[in-house]
Amino acid sequence: MTMEKSRSKSALSGLLLMIALVSTATVTFSAVDTHAQKRLNVVTTLTDLADITKYIGGDRVEVLSIATGYQNPHFVDPKPSHILKLLRADLFVTSGLDLTSGWVPPLLSSSRNSDIQPGGSGFVDTSVGVELLNVPTNTSRDQGDIHIFGNPHYWLDPARGHQIAHNIHAALVAVEPESEAYFTANLVQFDTTLEGKIKEWHTRMEPYEGAKIVAFHDQWPYFETAFGLDIVDFLEPKPGIPPTPSQLTKVMETMKSNEVHVIIISPYYKPDTAALVARQVGAHVVTLAPSVGAFEDVESYFDVFEHNLKVLIEALQPGTD
């Protein structure tokens, strides 16, 4: 009898324990699940926009970028697998203008997600409010692969990073107003950090103000303006047109007459031509990071400038061979 009671008691205790465990697990799971559900799904075109979104959105966003940092952002292939990423996106963040016009429209059309279509609540164009450089007055394509709204590589000026962050912040607040205070605190932190770093970067670049360099492709006007550089020519005769022998001859003459010792290039352009020119005129080819993830040490938006200034200053040092 006693044994039966004891068994009943232990069975009851076991049952209660199981219920408690299951309840705890359910509550825990629900809490995790609710928390997971609260995370906004954000898909960006570029890694730079993804990194800034992570900064502002913190742990309330899940962010992924379609392009990698070492890929030409104009020639990203619109793979079917990208459609799966866009299907459940709450926000689609793009650098806008016409940089990604070859691959974003077909992906959005196939995404079956009306929120992220242009004009939709989840479509974010980070170029809004950004002052653009090199807006063409002649829009004929005999000028090469020109960008009709202006040069689209504006994230390469850190000062313009403020506007990008503010655009992303506004979109995050619009889709999740209850997190406004959290997003705003992160934005303030981002602005403060970026402001401090911009001052530091300017100080580091002061000795090189006006330094003349040559670029492979016309994608650095914002970087050039931000850090007081002077890009005197390009290896491409016109944007998007591969270097020609006559252009290279002209560039070599320009480099010699202006004592230019640095050619900057992106990791997605083959360095052979730039290396050939550099050998002829005794210059250096410097591969800059056009975006986050271009190199292993470029893990954040701030790292883009840290890396680029480091390698550029090394190349611009007097006496560097």
Partner: protein, 343 residues
């Protein structure tokens, strides 16, 4: 009427500066296909001229749908003729990952049927497409329902189409005195093998009325392997593509079975140069005893994103076919808005 329509289309396309279009205007572009060719057979062995001019108008209508319209002006028997190539609405916001297309469109069959000829990496139509569907491919009016299968492991898309029966096709017809429709099914499977490589497997099925008033069924398998390094994707790529079709044509008392296939390799030699080799084999859906084999090579020079020159040579032979040689040169140019990149 026809010349007026053509003039109207051209005026619309050319009078609007692509760069100056208001945001509310559709994306307008005009694509020209100019070619010269040599054929070892026939009374006239060489010729040249404008093959086709295609105008496209594409725009989102509202948050719920977009419209795509393609009008071609092509040369047939020395005369330029207006042809509505495609005009369809596509839904943008249906639930359950569905998408509907309605209007006139290229059927979702195989890998290349939906691609316009100027965007293909070769100049001539593969023999199996020409013999089974016609030189222009399978293009019809109707409804297409597309479902993005909720498969977390890989991309899978199922399409079911119901169309009225094409006016011009080697295997299927439209009959005003019948309620028969053409049915098309396509299952597309896509895997990212790595950042640089992908594999696509498509399964197609078509069922409709043939010219004898009976039923024809065609089944197809397409496999595409693509390698394109992310970092240098503008310099190097390699595509291997194979499509195989089998046709069953009911003639009333018997069934004619016919097969066809092509295998293509496309290697990007440099930033602007592409080399393509292809092997074709095709029966005729009406006559399996007749068959055609061909080998062809195409060299493509992409001057910019808006212009390419291609040189092609093709040698074909068969048991009831005189061996022949064809040579083709074509220039494709695009003016207007930037088109979508193909993948």
């Amino acid at each position: 009427m026809m010349p007026r329509l053509i003039s109207c289309c051209l005026f619309l396309a050319l009078s609007v500066n692509a760069f100056g279009q208001a945001q509310t205007n559709p994306d307008i572009s005009l694509i020209g296909d100019v070619r010269a060719w040599y054929d070892s057979e026939g009374p006239r062995n060489i010729d040249l001229g404008l093959q086709e001019l295609e105008t496209s108008y594409r725009s989102v209508i509202d948050p719920y749908a977009r419209a795509d319209i393609y009008i071609g002006i092509g040369q047939h028997d020395g005369e330029f003729e207006f042809e509505l190539e495609e005009a369809y609405l596509t839904s943008l916001s249906l639930p359950y990952q569905l998408q509907i297309k309605a209007g006139k469109f290229r059927s979702n069959v195989g890998k290349i049927n939906q691609i316009h000829p100027h965007a293909l990496p070769f100049i001539d139509t593969p023999a199996v497409y020409a013999n089974f569907f016609g030189d222009e491919g399978l293009n019809d009016q109707g409804l297409s329902l597309n479902w993005l299968v909720p498969n977390a492991r890989f991309y899978q898309e199922l399409t079911v189409e119901m169309t009225r029966g094409p006016g011009e096709s080697e295997s299927f017809v439209h009959d005003e005195d019948s309620n028969r429709m053409m049915m098309v099914g396509h299952l597309k499977n896509f895997w990212d093998l790595s950042d640089d490589a992908s594999l696509e497997l498509g399964l197609s099925g078509i069922n409709g009325m043939n010219g004898l008033g009976e039923t024809s069924t065609i089944a197809g398998v397409d496999v595409t392997y693509k390698r394109k390094p992310l970092r240098y994707n503008t310099y190097h790529s390699f595509t291997l593509q194979v499509e195989v079709f089998r046709s069953w044509k009911d003639t009333g008392g018997s069934t004619i079975t016919a097969d066809g296939l092509y295998a293509m390799a496309n290697y990007q030699l440099a930033r602007r140069w592409f080399a393509v080799g292809r092997f074709d084999h095709s029966d005729l859906p009406d006559n399996p005893d007749w068959n055609e084999k061909a080998v062809s090579a195409t060299l493509g020079w992409h001057l910019s994103e808006f212009q390419k020159l291609e040189w092609g040579a093709r040698h074909s032979w068969g048991p009831d076919l005189d061996a022949s040689w064809q040579g083709l040169v074509r220039a494709i140019f695009v003016i207007g808005t930037h088109g979508a990149h193909e993948y």
